[in-house]
Symmetry: C2
Subunit: 455 residues, 2 copies
């Protein structure tokens, strides 16, 4: 970057918007993937308006400076890893939201937390379903950049299913509006959806129009323990072939014990697997679903089945599942995987992961959004032990290879980022990879947007 270039950017933006103090920029180098290859950015820019994002990108294009866009930095794949001498563009101060209950849409800036979006729309009697486990601390912009998932996806789909429109600033600083508050609009290519999940590599999303739905009904929840992973996996298939639950989560023995260590809520430590399922169907239908799920679990050999329509009891079991990651993290730092397989391959995936764990002498706890096959092996390791770190990294790759062998994906909901980029060509194959690259080159010809991450 020319010596006076940064000064020009600072001069062009409101005072204090460009931060170069290393004490501050240090905190913007990594997301929760803690990518060791993170660079030191020349500056962090925290714009409030689309026009300011345009200024940054026009400047970045003119000066060939890389720009890494960042929401709340909760990403787990290194999608917001800073680049040496580049800009980190943080959307944290872009926090406007307007809800229209009549069209059931919300227009919001990317910096709001997922939880804040949910809370705001709930004041209008509406619901924004996508619920990544980090929903209380992750930004809606980050959710859109990664096409985030969550627990409710098994019934309600993923983030892209709720994005009707975006305003996006392209690499050259052009701001484009795509879509809007209309459920149906087929004029022009489906570019709104192209930007969802693009991990900051095609443009910077500065505003989104979200589709909202009526509020979720109280959950009827069923919890079951199984003596083997295979029995639990079969029970998952039994449920998904009979009804569509609003949630169907899996925890293995290591996870159950880690959660019980912390929460002391009486989970069965001897079980090989635990399933937490819920229905949100209205009225009688919810308890009918719960009964059918309980009966299915019993039929597939559950050692214990517990069913409740009480919201507090339901919440306790769901909290246990949501607490799984911090609970396992108590055992040591985590390398958090995010593979996905077709649901029938779940048992093979979980048993394969156990094999990989044994082979590399690692603790790998497994939780899964079992109803949609998206699985999070949690690789416990000591990053300061070079040999153990290497074994953890080997296991990380082997788990992705295993998922691919089983017809699955290397990332279900966290994104490719930098951490999974080496596996992307192998997963997509040369032709799909070339197609991705063609789109990337068409939209970011200088390669300044999140270089090395995502596509």
């Amino acid at each position: 970057m020319p010596a006076d270039a940064l000064a020009a950017l600072i001069a062009e933006l409101p005072e204090g918007m460009v931060v170069t103090d290393p004490a501050v920029t240090e905190g913007y180098r990594q997301d929760r993937a803690f990518d060791p290859s993170a660079g030191k950015p020349a500056a962090v820019v925290r714009p409030r308006r689309t026009e300011e994002v345009q200024t940054v990108l026009r400047w970045a294009t003119a000066n060939h400076v890389p720009v890494v866009t960042r929401g709340m930095g909760t990403g787990l794949s290194g999608g917001a890893t800073a680049v040496d001498g580049g800009i980190v563009l943080s959307t944290e101060k872009m926090r406007d939201i307007a809800v229209d209950p009549v069209t059931r849409t919300a227009v919001c800036q990317p910096g709001l937390l997922n939880a804040e979006v949910k809370k705001t729309v709930a004041e209008y009697g509406l619901w924004y379903p996508p619920d990544p486990s980090s929903w209380e601390i992750c930004s809606i912009g980050g959710n859109i950049a990664t096409n985030a998932g969550g627990l409710c996806c098994v019934k309600y789909g993923v983030t892209t299913d709720y994005v009707l429109g975006v305003q996006v600033v392209l690499a050259d600083g052009t701001a484009v509006r795509l879509g809007g508050p209309r459920l149906k609009d087929v004029a022009g290519l489906s570019l709104t959806k192209l930007f969802v999940g693009s991990e900051g590599a095609l443009g910077v999303i500065t505003e989104v129009t979200l589709r909202l739905v009526p509020p979720q009904q109280p959950l009827a929840t069923v919890v079951a323990y199984f003596a083997s992973v295979e029995a639990a996996a079969q029970a998952v298939l039994g449920v998904t072939s009979r009804l569509r639950p609003a949630m169907l989560e899996f925890m293995d023995s290591a996870t159950i014990n880690a959660v019980e260590d912390k929460l002391r809520m009486g989970l069965d430590r001897s079980a090989a697997a635990m399933l937490v399922a819920a229905s949100d169907e209205r009225g009688q239908a919810g308890s009918e679903d719960a009964e059918l799920m309980a009966a299915t679990f019993t039929e597939y050999g559950a050692t214990e089945v517990f069913s409740t329509g009480d919201p507090d009891e339901s919440e306790a079991f769901i909290a246990a599942r949501r607490f799984a990651i911090p609970a396992v993290e108590e055992k040591g730092p985590l390398l958090l995987e995010d593979v996905g397989v077709p649901v029938p391959a779940l048992a093979d995936l979980v048993s394969g992961i156990a094999r990989i764990a044994a082979q590399h002498d690692l603790m790998i706890a497994v939780i899964a959004h079992a109803g949609d096959g998206n699985t999070h092996p949690l690789i416990v390791h000591d990053p300061n032990d070079a040999a153990e770190l290497e074994r953890a990294n080997l296991a990380y790759g082997e788990i992705m290879n295993l998922a691919m062998e089983l017809g699955g994906t290397i990332t279900g909901e966290h994104g490719v980022g930098r951490l999974k980029r080496p596996w992307l060509p192998g997963y997509l194959g040369p032709d799909a990879m070339a197609l991705n690259q063609r789109i990337k080159d068409a939209l970011d010809p200088l390669g300044i947007l999140n270089p090395g991450a995502g596509v």
Copy 2:
């Protein structure tokens, strides 16, 4: 095209797959938009396999020959208008389907009818929701190429929400698989969704993976008449702000009378508007919804409200709505519009259309998927009367301009095709149009895929 080029293509494909007989090719020049600018294709090719589509496109790229892909030719925007000297690639013989009830997915070729997909998956106790009015005669490939909608979209979304993966052949003949039978997959750009709605301008879809859901419950249906369009439009808002119906359809006076002329089912000819709404919630919840909708209609001044949980009675009213287009067509050939506005603008749209009709001395009957704002003005005209045809074409454009003024789109579910292409730049604006063009150029650099249509 060089003189011997077509002979080479004929030689390369199975006998009879390339048809040059004008008696046959004549039937492939137009879809239901009856675009008068349709050219005479050099040949119609009816492949059965992806490899044969690759052969056609490799050949087309080598010889710079335009290729127009065609499903069942039911499109209403000229998305399958043949080009002089080009190839029409018909997917009608690509008819394989395999359903996996465990992952709730179907993998099928594009030539199956929407109705055949629905019927096949129903044998596995599953449902494919998208239901364009032409569902009995349109192909699933055409549905995907246009991101087709239908009546159930107000609750269930549009075609793209049910497409998990595609196999697509690019302009140069490369076949690429994108996505697959996984609800969650964020590895690489969201290219599956980019091809949905691309109207054959980016590639040829040769296989799709569809997401299926549990079967729809029996409908509880409510029909209401109103003395004014405004009252009906307000009642639509009353319903959508209180619950999410599975269907919420609007018919104006002209449509009611046209349908009654044919069906003699006792519709109220004196009404200014009729709404047909339905709930498919399970058990008691369905009739609760129906009661709430009936009460809402009464509150907003309905002159008559009729509610039924009887499947046959429900079906009769929905059939009346589905019969609207053929019924109005009895009055004369139709120019079929497909604008969409945010739901609160529906009354303004309908009254504006009446003004345009009066101004051009035309009958324009209006039906609408009122719950999502997607509106089909049916412009009755005599295409052999040059002056009337000109007035109809003027009205067609003015209705799109009106929709845009009201914050709406020029096409909600039919696609841009050739007929609406002149309005696309004005609708998208120069920046979004340029972005569309960049993607088109990146994927079809020679411009051989459906030239002049879609993007």
